[in-house]
């Protein structure tokens, strides 16, 4: 074993076992690339599933950009960004030594349409020509909008311009799946690896052991270091136990990390007075905004003055404290997270200071003819997603200062999502949050504000049910831009425009603060997902 003091060197970082301590499975409910839904290919899935493109594995700003993975570049657009062409690298092999072809990638994408394999990202169905009606390859039908002129080339034909396609190609749906090994729902029991590790054992929701894939090497993959020889993950631990183990860091736990557990406020309070522990925390940000959502179809939230009054009354300092104070969250006045990749431009449409402006709020309520307003704020019954009772009470207390009586209604985990994403059952006002599927403005704004994405039968995130032709047109226009740097200012401007309408009240952007074991190295933060990259950390 190594001495903790030695510096990290990618050349000699190989060896040892990395332990992952998680509350829930690091591979989603299913370890099937068709069903996984994680940003940028995920932390653990991308150790097994290489994709056409991937996130750039470097520290800082640059980590929000796309890098080629299986493909030779991040994709060639044509036809106004409606056609995207990729070429595969040479020497790619599956864990059994068979070469990876473009047909395997096509099969992988097609099978994600099968109703037997629900889950996964929604974009392909919407974007690919014929995707809306396609029911997967198992009944013998192919999806014609994906073409494989040869074993190295794959072409995607889209319904409309999508400049962000390279970002989407980082998703696990773009991983090759050998048709011969595909057993449908059974595939996840032994998914075939194209990455540095293959699955040795996997018990859903319990444990996962990864060992080296002998057909992978750094020569065919410049995006992963894959330092540990072996990775053992344990799921189903409680947050308190994970953090306790990481801070004690005894025995095997010295080589342990977590990919899903942040420090709780209580632990933070303790760690901030212990320099040794403080050293072993990593701080990152995932583009995420917690906000109050309004259903403008419900009175009185159809009245913009009422929404504005609430925006003024809110005490962001209290909300931030409720989730653990300034080290774990930043107050938010914009809907877009404060990262350049999203096109962030600071604005504050309803300036009220960190503690809110109850006087201004009262004034607006009086104008709206609602001096003694009583509202029911819906929230989740637990605090795990920071939309639970803690934030709800902070909002309740702040609104009280403005003369608004807030009643709280808690929903259980299972019901909360169902209720808020179906317009028929959507509450008038509730706590919600939104995270980006990739770090650009599009996936952050479109599902929430694009009027054509109001889904009546469920799965709706346009909570305000806002439909404005001009805004919709602007979404289309920006989507045609395939250069992120050009798109950014337009997203920022659109956000500011939307913010003035008080369709949501942004509360805060969470900060990720995680502990890792004594022997873990190269734990730089990553701005795409706000966490360290398992493919880059080392225990040696």
């Amino acid at each position: 074993s190594s001495s903790a003091g030695s510096a990290f060197d990618p050349k000699s970082c190989q060896g040892g076992t990395l332990y992952i301590l998680n509350q829930t499975s690091a591979t989603d409910e299913h370890f099937d690339p068709a069903r996984i839904y994680t940003s940028g290919g995920g932390a653990v899935p991308s150790l097994v599933f290489r994709t056409l493109t991937t996130r750039k594995r470097v520290p800082g700003q640059a980590s929000t950009t796309v890098a080629p993975d299986l493909a030779t570049d991040t994709g060639t657009p044509s036809d106004d960004a409606k056609t995207w062409t990729y070429h595969l690298r040479d020497g790619l092999k599956f864990e059994d030594g068979t070469p990876i072809t473009s047909k395997d990638v096509k099969w992988g994408v097609e099978r994600s349409f099968a109703p037997e394999l629900p889950g996964g990202i929604p974009y392909l169905r919407d974007w690919l020509v014929g995707g809306a009606d396609y029911k997967g390859p198992y009944k013998g039908r192919e999806l014609d909008s994906i073409q494989t002129p040869d074993d190295k080339t794959i072409v995607f034909k889209l319904r409309k311009p999508e400049g962000d396609f390279p970002y989407v190609a980082t998703a696990t749906q773009f991983t090759p799946v050998p048709k011969a090994k595909d057993g449908g729902t059974a595939y996840e029991r032994h998914p075939v690896s194209s990455g540095p590790y293959k699955v040795q054992t996997h018990v859903q929701d319990k444990s996962l052991t990864l060992v080296r894939n002998p057909y992978w090497s750094r020569t065919v993959d410049d995006q992963r270091l894959a330092c540990p020889d072996r990775i053992e993950a344990t799921y189903g631990l409680s947050a308190a136990v994970i953090n306790q183990r990481l801070s004690t860091s005894a025995g095997k736990d010295a080589g342990a990390i977590t990919t899903d557990t942040d420090l709780s406020p209580a632990e933070l309070a303790r760690i901030s007075s212990d320099p040794n522990l403080k050293k072993r925390t990593v701080r990152g940000q995932f583009g995420y905004t917690n906000f109050i959502a309004f259903n403008t179809k419900v009175k009185p939230f159809d009245d913009v003055r009422v929404r504005e009054a609430i925006a003024y009354a809110v005490n962001r300092q209290a909300a931030v404290n409720a989730v653990g104070g300034s080290s774990l969250a930043k107050p938010a006045t914009t809907f877009l997270p404060d990262q350049a990749a999203f096109g962030y431009q600071p604005y504050d449409a309803f300036p009220a200071g960190p503690a809110g402006d109850p006087a201004k709020a009262k004034e607006l309520l009086a104008q709206a003819g609602q001096p003694n307003l009583t509202i029911t704020l819906a929230h989740r019954n637990g605090d795990s997603h920071q939309d639970g009772p803690a934030v709800a009470t902070a909002v309740q207390e702040a609104l009280k200062q403005a003369g608004i009586t807030v009643k709280l209604k808690a929903y259980d985990e299972a019901s909360y999502r169902s209720v808020q994403t179906k317009p028929a059952t959507e509450p008038g006002v509730f706590l919600s949050g939104w995270g980006a599927d990739w770090p650009t403005g599009g996936p952050f704004l479109a599902p929430i504000f694009d009027g054509r994405q109001i889904l009546k039968d469920g799965g709706n995130f346009n909570f305000a049910q806002y439909d404005d032709a001009k805004v919709n047109a602007e979404f289309d226009a920006i989507n045609k831009i395939s250069d992120p740097l050009q798109a950014r200012p337009r997203w920022g401007a659109l956000d500011a425009e939307l913010g003035r309408q008080a369709l949501t009240v942004p509360l805060f952007h969470p900060i990720y603060l995680r502990l890792y074991g004594k022997n873990v190295k190269n734990t730089y933060l990553d701005e795409w997902r706000g966490s360290y990259d398992v493919a880059m950390v080392s225990v040696k």
Binding site: E29, V241, Q244, G459
Partner: protein
């Protein structure tokens, strides 16, 4: 006795049908839609409909329940994509969330829960009985009072408090023990036991309180019985009078207490498993309840019901074996 077992079995069936029907009823009543959870974030109406169809949620709840019962008796078919697989009776169906057969999910987690509860049961029975004994023999003296305080302290401390305290003290601070992970008994019995010490203790702290109180009362009662006086009058050493005769009488009723306390134990075991991250039934209950994973919840209900009735039957049989005056009926 055969007759007794037959009757028990009959009533068990009725009980299980009623219980699972209630589960289906509750499921029907709550607004949560499991398909939303299965489908993921960006799921539109069409996809939801196809998942509803796949999970059979588009059928009326009574039909769903009927299929559940059917699966139990004759088995069910299930489409996995390329082929159709058959789940032979007794089939509890497939989990909405993980697509795994419910039976295998439960079977996989049962050993963990059994290890936890069985070990804790032994521990809390032993602790409870010894403390209760000491307490009764020193009735109203300092020891008795101390035991009372200790026991009630345990009784008034939720497992998630005592468990966390134990963890912090023994693993975090003193470092006497590693943080518990579950090691199967068959792999390494020593590691199995060492890892379960804290979870066992956690349950014991709470549960032994009840045993201590009941043993104390039972001892005080038996000690005033005539046959105890007989043995004292015949000069039997006090140790034997208490250890053999008084204790036996005081302990016999405790057998059925374990069966009665089953519900409480189940809830506390669930909390303990969640806290310590033991992959047992309790954790599965929490997960599947949170995910409205109906087949799993129904399957777990069946298992729990079965376990209770089994526990009660075993308790009755044991009782009859220990106390020959009892006749089973």
């Amino acid at each position: 006795m055969t007759r007794y077992l037959l009757r028990r079995l009959g009533s068990l069936l009725v009980l299980l049908v009623v219980m699972t029907a209630i589960v289906y009823g509750i499921f029907y009543a709550i607004p949560a839609d499991p398909a939303v959870l299965v489908c993921g974030k960006g799921c539109d109406g069409g996809q939801l409909a196809s998942i509803h169809h796949k999970l059979g949620l588009d059928q009326p709840i009574t039909a769903q329940y009927w299929h559940f019962l059917e699966g139990l008796v004759v088995g069910r078919d299930y489409s996995s994509g390329p082929d159709v697989s058959h789940c032979a009776a007794p089939c509890l169906g497939y989990s909405f969330q993980t697509d795994l057969p419910v039976l295998s999910l439960i079977a996989q987690r049962l050993p963990v829960s059994l290890s936890l509860t069985a070990g804790a049961l032994v521990l809390w029975t032993v602790t409870g009985v010894s403390l209760g004994l000491v307490s009764a023999l020193r009735e109203r003296r300092l020891t008795d009072r101390l035991v009372t305080v200790f026991v009630l302290g345990g009784l008034g401390t939720p497992v998630f408090v005592s468990g966390l305290l134990l963890l912090m003290v023994f693993c975090g601070w003193l470092k006497w023990l590693d943080f518990p992970v579950y090691v199967p008994l068959t792999d390494d019995p020593v590691a199995w036991a060492r890892n379960l010490i804290l979870p066992w203790l956690t349950l014991t702290i709470l549960q032994s309180a009840i045993f201590t109180r009941l043993t104390r009362t039972g001892m005080l009662e038996t000690l005033s019985e005539d046959h105890i006086r007989t043995f004292r009058a015949y000069g039997l050493p006090e140790r034997r009078v208490i250890g053999r005769h008084a204790l036996r009488g005081a302990l016999t009723p405790l057998i059925s207490i374990n069966a009665v306390e089953f519900g409480t134990v189940l809830v506390n075991a669930m909390l303990t498993e969640t806290l310590f991250g033991l992959p047992g039934i309790g954790q599965l209950i929490v997960q599947s309840s949170n995910n409205v994973d109906l087949p799993v919840v129904a399957g777990l209900t069946l298992t729990a019901g079965l376990a209770v009735v089994l526990a009660n039957t075993v308790a009755d049989l044991l009782y009859a074996a220990v106390d020959r005056r009892v006749v089973l009926s």
